[in-house]
Symmetry: C2
Subunit: 335 residues, 2 copies
Amino acid sequence: MEEFASLSGISRPTVSKYFNDPDSVRASTRAKIEASLEKHDYQPNVFAMNQNRRTTKNIGVVVPNLADPFFSEIGRRVELACIEAGYSPILLSSHGSVAMERDNLASLRALKPAGVLLAPFGRMSDKDAIQAFDDDFPLVLFDANMEDVGQAFVGTDNAQSVDLMVEYLCRSGEAPCFFEMKSPTNPNANKRHQAYVDSMERHGEAPRIFQVSGDGWNFEEIGNTEGGQLLSSDAFTTNTILCSNDRLAIGVLSAAYGLGLRVGHGADCDIRVAGHDDHPFARFTCPPLTTIAQDYEAIANRAVSDLFAMLETDSPHSTRPETTFDGRLIMRDSA
Amino acid sequence: MEEFASLSGISRPTVSKYFNDPDSVRASTRAKIEASLEKHDYQPNVFAMNQNRRTTKNIGVVVPNLADPFFSEIGRRVELACIEAGYSPILLSSHGSVAMERDNLASLRALKPAGVLLAPFGRMSDKDAIQAFDDDFPLVLFDANMEDVGQAFVGTDNAQSVDLMVEYLCRSGEAPCFFEMKSPTNPNANKRHQAYVDSMERHGEAPRIFQVSGDGWNFEEIGNTEGGQLLSSDAFTTNTILCSNDRLAIGVLSAAYGLGLRVGHGADCDIRVAGHDDHPFARFTCPPLTTIAQDYEAIANRAVSDLFAMLETDSPHSTRPETTFDGRLIMRDSA
DNA sequence: ATATTATTTTTACGCGCGCAAAATTTTAAT
DNA sequence: ATTAAAATTTTGCGCGCGTAAAAATAATAT
């Protein structure tokens, strides 16, 4: 940089300023630097830059499991939004393990991130570790909320979205039962469970919950095996099954197909199946899955803008803004 | 580090050595350091470490598209294998864009990676940029091969895997046609096309290729729309459709379902559909998809170990090892 | 016990940059 | 034109560590 600066006829610290923010130097010097940059193609050393900076341009993005298309999609959008804003996102997957979520936060510490966007496991997460992290870095939660953790939260309003689905199902046929995992790994499962119960009561219906065993992230497998068991033993007391998420629903659809059951809302159909999330492949299931679309784009953009707003006014907010977006009902053939 | 070293009763450079390789210091000093580490929980500054190192512990991992479950799965395994080996993987997705693949390599340069594992787009990739990168850093290609690029290649033997499928399909019913995209974004598409043609000729059958338009990465959509068109107009001249990959097959299955066609190898079925890759959701399609399973684990591990072997003997190999693993035929109900 | 060699530790230096304070230049106001 | 204020640039310093060469220590041989 020393060399480049003298070649440009400017002092090194001014060049340094330029690289931190091109607008912070006079237009004339900026022009000189950029002209010089054409010929000498110098670029600053990232490590040396970050060593002495009080804050870097790194943004940590942590999701529970990139193998789940939902998180890979929302992680992708967050990543692109950060790049757009001139930051360097670092996308980390916790691979379905709470321990690795802790590890990820630990390794992010070493990178002195300007801020972190975390989609936590929720109740399973190491709350103390996340809170400790929150004390040291600006932290915004998305997808799954946790009480008193993070400076803001952005996600989908499960109460609204589930109610929308329950309302539709009740109006168009038998009231749905609710199909979920006994000990859900999915962060929003409990919210949806509660939303289902509340909504059913509002509609004057008795909630009917079917909880199946199985852990890990093989939701389709669980939906297929356990849902298939329930279907073949005719255990569901209604012909309408609302699944806690699309991946479970995909498993249930697969089981239904195997049993020769016709799924859909037609007169000749045996059962209706609905999901939640608008999984990228929900449009291509057989039949196409009726579900709730989360507004990925809005959630990602809002989470990023909430974080960046915080970075500018570095004083911690007095209030902890919680933004939820409405889900959209996507009516396809399965229900 | 200065402070920690004096607290430990050792000079700072020795502590530095310890952190680069704990075995490079005498056992007694190592014990002293580790004892002291318990009390003072010091850890070295990553940026300062990497600034002066000639080579870091960073490993770049670049895949074409993390939104595709195939790449998210293989990327995941590569990532974990690197962590296992004590390195810091940096997983980057090119989001389906060749330009971003170039960008990703460019940003990796700044991180002085010890090596890079790249799953390129293949023929679409910026070959010059990748080759230039290869000159400066140890580079191993996986999934898709490119001539004279990278120090090694690891992937699946498409000739073997496609032949396995063609052989099975010919033996068990009508000879398959081949369903693919006209200008495929999928890196291995051309290899599979050629493998299909060769295999059919070996079986004394005339190859029948159906190429459909559409670009981008919405393979299911393309399979659904274009495949559906062909199905409904009865354009396929055989009842057996071999798709270039599972995602196209998922689209075709969805279209077949919509048209009321029964898919499978049973006597009462109308068509057979097969795919390639053993997509995570191929087990849950309707009917479950007959496909070729790539050995994700083996490919990931071999790519990583090839790279690490190169890191130790820093002299570039004279030969460029190409390792391919056999695909396994996964027989399910669709064909 | 001494000399020789291999190993480990220490000394000395510099990497490439950020940042605070001082010096300078530009802008605005009288 | 003169002066005060604001914006910009420069001076000076140090961050936290890697690394080569020198010094010290340990291991081995005579």
